[in-house]
């Protein structure tokens, strides 16, 4: 089981717009710092330039660690359609994050098969939220 850490996951579309965001915290900790949400979003978007640079140097989808900000690590995953998944975390958990990204990628593909879903638009499906919670608990917070 991984060391319990805090995670912030975001799916960023083609126009640098966040399509989906979710935070994961260890099960026993209360979310006492409510105002960190905007800082997380800021750090994730600041890392986008680095993601864009490194996505052309490799044909892997999982880009591992791309940036670091104070105590937050930023890992990234780029899909075939150039949708970027960003994960902020304060503990190293490469395998867990990679598995989480793969599962969220498959969930995202299944969600985008819906002909009523407009690509690059916010994802507002409760079923998608449930899946994200489930995989987050399985791979990230243990």
């Amino acid at each position: 089981m991984a060391v319990p850490g805090n995670y912030y996951f975001a799916i960023i579309g083609h126009h640098d717009n966040p399509m989906f965001e979710m935070e994961f915290a260890p099960a026993n900790k209360e979310p006492k710092k409510e105002d960190h949400r905007h800082l997380n979003q800021f750090i994730a978007h600041a890392a986008l330039d680095l993601v864009d640079e490194s996505m052309w140097t490799t044909s892997n989808m999982y880009l591992r660690l791309v940036d670091k900000f104070n105590e937050w690590f930023v890992s990234a995953f780029v899909t075939a359609g150039r949708v970027r998944f960003i994960c902020l975390h304060d503990v190293k958990n490469d395998d867990g994050i990679k598995n989480f990204f793969m599962e969220m990628y498959e969930t995202y593909i299944k969600h985008s098969m819906n002909p009523f879903y407009e690509p690059n638009s916010p994802i507002k499906s409760p079923a998608f939220d449930k899946k994200a919670h489930f995989y987050g608990r399985k791979y990230l917070t243990g």
């Binding site: 052309w56 044909s59 793969m102």
Partner: protein, 186 residues
Amino acid sequence: MSSNKQRPSILDKSLSRGKSEVSITAYALLFSEMVQYSHNRVQSVSDLHNKLSELGERVGVRMVELLFVRERNYKRETKLLNVLLFVKGTLWKSLFNKEADKLDRATDDERTFYLIEKEALVNRFISVPRDKSSINCAAFMAGVIQAVLNCTGFPAKVTALWHKGTTFMIKFDDAVLIRDKQLEGR
């Protein structure tokens, strides 16, 4: 409204390929309805091409993600030639069960490529009136290709022409060529 949900949610279905064949009559009926629907709502030939192209784009964006997961095992494409070979081979094979006939580069313009298909499936059941002979319903396929190229990071404009059967003229943006040369030089 039924109270017991027996159908699995779309998120629970498996991503792996199920039946990959569709009856051609069902496809022909659907496509002819799409063409008629677009035809009734446009004023000019280029508008018809645009409308069909838009419908094709909605297919293309979904095919990109699916094909890279199923066929390419989670590996993206970063080089221009490879993404064109992906379109010619993998995309065509999954849509039409055969590869596209030919892929050429224009001799005078290095941004332009020609993808040639002698008998496009999309045009098989479409009859073109003689007075509007420039209508080419392969604009739908042009939309699919354009969406695939835009999504993978190689923005381009794709048009369908009547030439050696059906030719798709693919014109890339300058930035794509510049970036590709930079990557090759690295």
